[in-house]
Symmetry: C2
Subunit: 190 residues, 2 copies
DNA sequence: GAAGTTATATGCACTTAGTGCAATATTGCA
DNA sequence: TGCAATATTGCACTAAGTGCATATAACTTC
């Protein structure tokens, strides 16, 4: 990690990593499947904590509320300096950016599976799939904004705002005619 | 593409591709940045059509409605046999799955930029970011379900259902107490 | 049509990620 | 100590991707 932070992800070869870790190049691949996995493995530790948290959430709430509250209790884990450094590296190359998004999708699928186990009613299946998308999407947007702001305010603040926006925002009244509410559209096309 | 469909993505080497295309291996890299780009470049053609479509949408509707209607008019482009084959290939390796998700994120950002240009009111910025996330998320879920069903029903049917679910679904009444509405949670974890 | 100029195609050598296999070192245990 | 399981290593190999110099095609201008 310190090598990556110092010289960038691509500039550090596997030979350098192996040398710094005092292992052979070949042994490295017994611990990680790829160079990219070094960054990705880091993140997956917080994932189990997340699922434990939502499992511990009380019943009697909607799935999205449950996930939101569970998320709120674990997001602080992402707020370390390490996490910010990793996040910066994950945005440094196209392959890593893609891997990061792929990880979000994995999380989404895993969350969906958890939600189905907790609310097994088949009629709700589609709602739960949407819930998983919304929750992970909200987490992703919150982390994005937090990172863009340089982490000045705590991550949980962004998360709360994002979820609040989900409740009162763009699709509250979706399907209902609520045209523009006084805001002049300023498109430049046509 | 036919080589990939016949033997799988990883089994086809660049030498084979270059030979089949009657060009040298080196020349290949003047047309594509990587082997993966062959699959990804395909998809980007439909992307411009999408943005033209939402630009042509009439004013006076909410951003999410505008994007939904624009999307409805171009999703049929994804419904070719080619697209289904590509989609299958994109799920065949971890790297490609990640690249696909990364592409969705790129689309989301591009859509966000379009929405900002059309509704430049700064107060709406966060809503527009959410709108972009919801719209691309809905597209992603619709395509996922369509693909899982083997493309029996038309893609637009899944898209309509997904957007309808967004309006009446998991977060309609988010924040309002609407506990379980008679559905017994059947979690297996405590 | 010849000369020159630009863009495209190619060959070659090279770096690096990643894998398979067999050999070696290390650890744990009876 | 002896043995078995596991971890580590070296080596040879494949394949992706890059830099550079060169050749070939295409296009312009006189």
């Amino acid at each position: 990690m310190s090598l990556f932070l110092a010289h960038g992800f691509e500039a550090v070869t596997l030979d350098a990593i192996a040398a710094a870790a005092d292992i052979s190049r070949r042994t490295f691949f017994h611990y990680f499947d790829s160079k990219e996995d070094i960054l990705l493995a880091w993140e997956s530790e917080a994932e189990t904590a997340f699922f434990v948290a939502i499992a511990d959430e009380p019943e009697g709430r909607t799935p999205l509320e449950t996930v939101r509250d569970g998320l709120s209790k674990v997001v602080c884990r992402y707020e370390t300096d390490q996490a910010m450094g990793i996040d910066r590296l994950l945005r440094s190359t196209e392959g890593l950016r893609a891997r990061k998004q792929g990880n979000y999708e994995r999380k989404e699928q895993a969350l969906f599976a958890h939600l189905i186990a907790r609310w097994p009613n088949p009629e709700r299946r589609r709602d739960l799939r949407l819930t998983a998308m919304l929750a992970i999407g909200a987490l992703r947007l919150a982390a994005e904004e937090w990172s863009a702001d340089g982490g000045q305010r705590p991550l949980i603040a962004y998360l709360n705002e994002t979820f609040a926006g989900l409740g009162s925002g763009p699709h509250a009244g979706f399907g209902v005619n609520k045209p523009e509410d006084g805001i002049t559209p300023g498109g430049n096309k046509t």
